[in-house]
């Protein structure tokens, strides 16, 4: 079967558009085109219904081109390879594609903040991750800026004011919430436009936790950056560490030992289990049913203890590294965990029954916070949110990595798109993860868990299915150090869904809708 790159090249050449196809490795194609033919190419891609834009980023001084290069990444669920469209800019200016691919709006604002590249025709040009404290002329990802502590005045900020969408009319008022919320939650700002109790509009402002992770990786050795990948989002440490490690492994043509991938898979699925358990408990807390939540939180604590037992960290930090794993995990521990899982399954099913038999829980979940299927593609939604809205997509199946092509993946899928659908999809995913772990432990290989990973130059893009959805990591290594590290987490796109899902719902249902989506603030803000 043809890869996306070959298909696009053939389509472009049929129309006499010049392009250059580079196959980097088995999982990604790069098609480089001229700026003049960019508009036509985008329209061609748009007419191919099955392609969706999943990421966009810029790089400076990429592969001997001393200017800016823009990358547009497209995906087709039926083709394992990803396609990156590469455009070299003549000046700091490019046409906006946000009207054709709505999610591009967010990416373009991110690139504008980072590099100062202007997008012509963009309908939203407000700053994104740089808040008022940063001066307007500041662009941290430029090579001319050396990463260093800044002395900024927070009381009298230099940057221009952030303008919120104006919502007005008879009986309409606004409720601003955050950045500091009531509870042990991460910071973010929500501005509700409300009619009586019903939400009429929601605008989200994020990036309060922007820590500058992408710049932080610059000029560091790849092996030193695994800690940065792990700190993208604390409860997705294993998924992000694995994605980063895979990028480095692909650049170096390094083959990870079978046993290392088996153990990685066990940990990636453990992460999914404890993350989903937390969500399902949180959703019950938000409809005032702590009894049901406690059953799940108890299980979650036990899984986190097994995390610590196996990896040394309750959050699975510090074990995955390029080439495999830092240390082996005793087979005895894994067999013990397998024994625990059989008891876990019964207790989980009992807890699920408790929730499903409680009419007040189901009553609050049912028909609340609907995400329509039509939103999945234009907003690039992924993970349990997409699977609850009728899109049976999963990176583990669409773009298999590691040993995921050898395990039995049961993709739960529901069409309702409400809180209840997300609750049930997560429950099904936990059961599937348990099966995957059991299968892997049954077929465990003996052998080393680390192979030599050299430090070559190159670049590579990796997609993984984290608990929240698809995470992308692109690493560009030049002269032995990382020149550009781009991360796009599932939350970065999935956050948009909530602005649509809450419309017509009442304000008191916002917490449970939010929790059912389990969006990461840290993973979004980077």
């Amino acid at each position: 079967m043809n890869t996306l790159g070959i298909i696009l090249k053939q389509t472009l050449e049929a129309r006499n558009i010049k392009c250059l196809l580079r196959k980097k490795n088995a999982s990604e194609d790069y098609v480089c085109i001229e700026m003049d033919s960019f508009g036509e190419t985008v329209q061609l891609i748009k007419s191919q219904q099955l392609l969706r834009l999943i990421a966009m980023w810029a790089a400076e001084d990429f592969e001997y081109y001393s200017g800016f290069t823009l990358f547009y990444v497209f995906e087709n669920y039926n083709i394992p390879e990803l396609l990156a469209l590469e455009v070299r800019l003549k000046d700091k200016c490019a046409p906006s594609i946000a009207l054709d691919f709505p999610i591009a709006c967010y990416f373009e604002r991110e690139i504008k903040d980072g590099f100062g590249i202007e997008f012509e025709g963009a309908f939203d040009t407000r700053r994104l991750f740089l808040h008022e404290a940063y001066p307007d002329s500041f662009h941290p990802l430029l090579k001319s800026f050396k990463n260093q502590a800044l002395d900024l005045n927070h009381d009298e900020p230099k940057g221009s004011e952030y303008i919120f969408k104006e919502v007005a009319g008879e009986g309409i008022y606004q409720i601003p919430v955050g950045p500091v919320h009531a509870g042990i939650i991460e910071p973010g700002h929500f501005r509700f436009g409300v009619m009586g109790e019903t939400i009429f509009n929601l605008e989200i402002r994020h990036f309060y936790k922007h820590r500058g992770l992408e710049k932080l990786a610059e000029y560091k050795k790849p092996a030193d950056c695994i800690a940065i990948a792990e700190s993208i989002s604390g409860d997705e440490s294993a998924a992000n560490a694995a994605a980063f490690a895979m990028s480095i492994e692909k650049i170096n043509n390094c083959t990870v030992p079978e046993r290392a991938w088996q153990l990685r898979t066990v940990m990636l699925e453990m992460e999914r289990i404890y993350s989903h358990l937390g969500d399902m408990a949180g959703m019950q807390v938000d409809v005032a049913y702590p009894v049901g939540a406690s059953l799940l939180l108890t299980l979650r604590e036990e899984i986190m203890r097994y995390n610590a037992l196996m990896s040394g960290s309750r959050f699975l930090k510090g074990i995955i590294k390029p080439g495999g794993l830092l240390h082996d995990i005793d087979t005895e521990k894994l067999l013990d965990f397998k024994k625990y899982l059989s008891a876990f399954k019964d207790r989980f099913e009992a807890a699920l029954k408790t929730a499903c038999n409680s009419s007040w829980v189901i009553d609050r979940f049912d028909t609340t916070g609907v995400v329509k299927k039509e939103l999945v593609s234009p907003l690039n939604l992924s993970g349990p949110i997409a699977r609850s809205s009728g899109a049976a997509i999963d990176t583990r199946r669409n773009h298999p990595y590691g040993i995921y092509d050898k395990v039995k993946l049961n993709l739960p899928s529901r069409n309702e798109g409400d809180v209840l659908a997300r609750f049930m999809v997560k429950a099904d995913e936990i059961e599937n993860s348990v099966d995957i772990i059991n299968h892997v432990i049954d077929n465990l290989r003996e052998g080393p868990v680390l192979s030599e990973c050299s430090n070559l130059d190159g670049y590579s893009l990796t997609a993984v299915e984290a608990p929240r959805g698809q995470n992308l990591h692109w690493v560009y290594v030049k002269n032995g150090v990382i020149d550009r590290y781009k991360v796009r987490t599932a939350s970065f796109c999935n956050w948009w869904a909530i602005e649509h899902a809450v419309l017509g719902n009442i304000v008191p249902d916002f917490p449970v809708i939010n929790k059912s989506m389990n969006l990461s603030y840290a993973g979004n803000d980077l």
Partner: protein, 174 residues
């Protein structure tokens, strides 16, 4: 129901090894409770403030309230507003985007109040130390009384940190 009761009376009892970690946790909790009784008059109210962490520390703080740990039995509660708080627990290196909100939250806490930095990044900036986007550790902007390092610290380590704060307060009074 009745069968459950009868089984409890006459059924076979399985004694499990007591979990050494939970034993240690309970011991620390009870000692903390004694200190809270004498210094704060039975209970402390904690406001959690995230200034730019990776969310792992928040998860552990949330875990303190779950079945295994249940710190409310030791007189510790997490409150929704800094205006109700005796202690601010701050997690994460302070980002420039959060700096103003951090200052305002601290100013809203009645005095005397205390500040605890939880996690490596809150203690000294951690891996973000040289980033343009952060000021550094929490002590760059707030008067930090106790630092609890870790990536993130475990529930037991957080409890030991709280105990250290109690001891520091007692010493100040002498």
């Amino acid at each position: 129901m009745i069968t459950d009761i009868l089984r409890n009376f006459f059924g076979k009892k399985i004694a499990q090894d007591s979990d050494p970690e939970l034993y240690e946790f309970r011991k620390t909790g009870l000692e903390l409770k004694r200190n809270i009784n004498s210094i704060f008059g039975r209970s402390i109210a904690i406001r959690e403030l995230d200034s730019g962490s990776d969310n792992a520390a928040e998860i552990e703080l949330n875990n303190l309230g779950t079945t295994y740990y249940d710190v409310e039995r030791f007189g510790i509660s997490f409150v929704a507003s800094p205006r109700h708080a005796d202690i601010i627990v701050i997690t994460g290196a302070v980002t420039h985007n959060m700096a103003l909100a951090v200052k305002k939250t601290f100013e809203a806490m009645p005095q005397p109040g205390f500040v605890i930095a939880v996690g490596d990044d809150a203690c000294d900036g951690g891996i973000y130390k040289d980033s343009y986007a952060v000021l550094g550790g929490a002590d760059k902007i707030l008067p930090v009384d106790i630092k609890i390092p870790g990536n993130p610290p475990t529930p037991l380590e957080i409890m030991k940190g709280l105990l250290a704060l109690m001891n520091a307060i007692k010493q100040q009074r002498h």
